[in-house]
Amino acid sequence: MTRPSGAHLSSDEIEACVSGAVSPALQQHLEECPACMEQVRVDREIVQLIGALPLMNPAEGFADRVMARVAIPDPFALRSLQTTRRRLFATKKSIAVAATLVLALLGSMAGSIAWSLAHQDTLASLGTWLFAQGGQAIWLGVQGLVTNVIEQPWYAGFRSLVENPERLAALSAVGSFLYLGCLLALRRLLAVPTQQVAHAGL
């Protein structure tokens, strides 16, 4: 970059000189320009003075006071009530949002109760209609199911079996024995072994 004759250093160039990054061109200008040299010298002194300001410590127990107000997350908890409460009341914005939600919830509940009290007849007729419709739907469902079962090819055999009590009793007995046998086998499978396994000697 070329500088017009007689022009002084720009703020960026002075900054470069103050921070020690003096290029040969800048160095030459400083040697020829007492005003810029003086400015750089004073700025360096100021920077040194600021850098030499004493280090400062907060009062003793600072970390404890901070930690008393910090909620450390529990990695095993999904979200503790305390954390939720803390986040809810963390900022004015979150408090405002929470308050709005609570007010909306309470308002809708109150509105619902008020409307119900003022329209009891409507509610009663609506309830009766819903009950009748529900009953009708259930009855239609049962009818459909029964019709469907009756139309199955195995229904005739099943009916003849049910109509003969001796065969039904024999079939029930065989079914019960099979069921009990399966239960016993399952229980043995799920029982905790009482002896150590030989190769698991830990």
């Binding site: 960026d12 003075l49 600021i50 850098g51 400062m56 901070v66 930690m67 910090v70 963390a90």
Partner: protein, 201 residues
């Protein structure tokens, strides 16, 4: 018996943050230990009141550590916490503009003890009484000169020359364009030069 605590010094800020996120209290304390001094120093030189600086620094850490999940590791932790601290200080200054700058202590201190307790502690590094007096005078003058700067200039100059932060990082911390940061620092130094001109004589 070997300690179960990690060698904190060998861990980066990002690693310590990861441990804090997993619920290690010692990691939180390590973050406080690393930044309590620079954060306090920045806030104190911004607000010029020890008691207030304690409160604002405490608020800074509480806010940062309670929101540790929202910290993005691709940015420097130092930038993040300095940003919170600076915002706290600037917000306070905007809310309550300090009318006078007392070098003898907090402008809000009412008793002599409170004044002494909140006074600037300068000269601790000096050796001879004469040096101490001179350094105290110089330190007091520079503190006063920094205190008389606009808050934005003050943040820039402190972050640059006390904390040694790069221009880019200062721009990130203060949420300002890079050129603005450079201009602020240049103007701040010009004002300091004028404020301190009497010391030359």
């Amino acid at each position: 018996m070997p300690s179960l605590q990690p060698e904190w010094a060998s861990l980066s800020d990002q690693d310590v943050v990861l441990r804090a996120r997993s619920g290690q209290e010692s990691a939180y304390r390590e973050l406080i230990r690393r930044y309590e001094r620079p954060v306090f120093a920045l806030v104190f030189r911004m607000v010029r009141d020890r008691e207030l600086a304690e409160d604002l620094s405490q608020e800074t850490f509480v806010k940062a550590l309670n929101a540790i999940d929202s910290y993005r590791p691709e940015f420097k932790f130092s930038s993040w916490i300095f940003k919170i601290a600076n915002n706290a200080a600037i917000d306070h200054l905007r809310r309550r503009e300090l009318d006078t700058l007392s070098l003898d202590g907090s402008p809000h201190a009412e008793t002599p003890e409170a004044m002494q307790a909140t006074a600037l502690q300068i000269g601790a590094r000096q050796e001879t009484p004469l040096d101490t007096v001179e350094a105290k005078e110089l330190g007091t003058a520079i503190e006063a000169a920094i205190g008389s700067l606009r808050p934005e200039y003050r943040s820039c100059i402190l972050l640059r020359h006390v904390e040694g932060r790069a221009y880019e990082e200062i721009a990130e911390i203060l949420n300002l364009p890079l050129g603005t940061v450079k201009t602020y620092i240049h103007r701040a130094r010009n004002e300091l030069r004028q404020s301190l001109a009497h010391l030359k004589e």
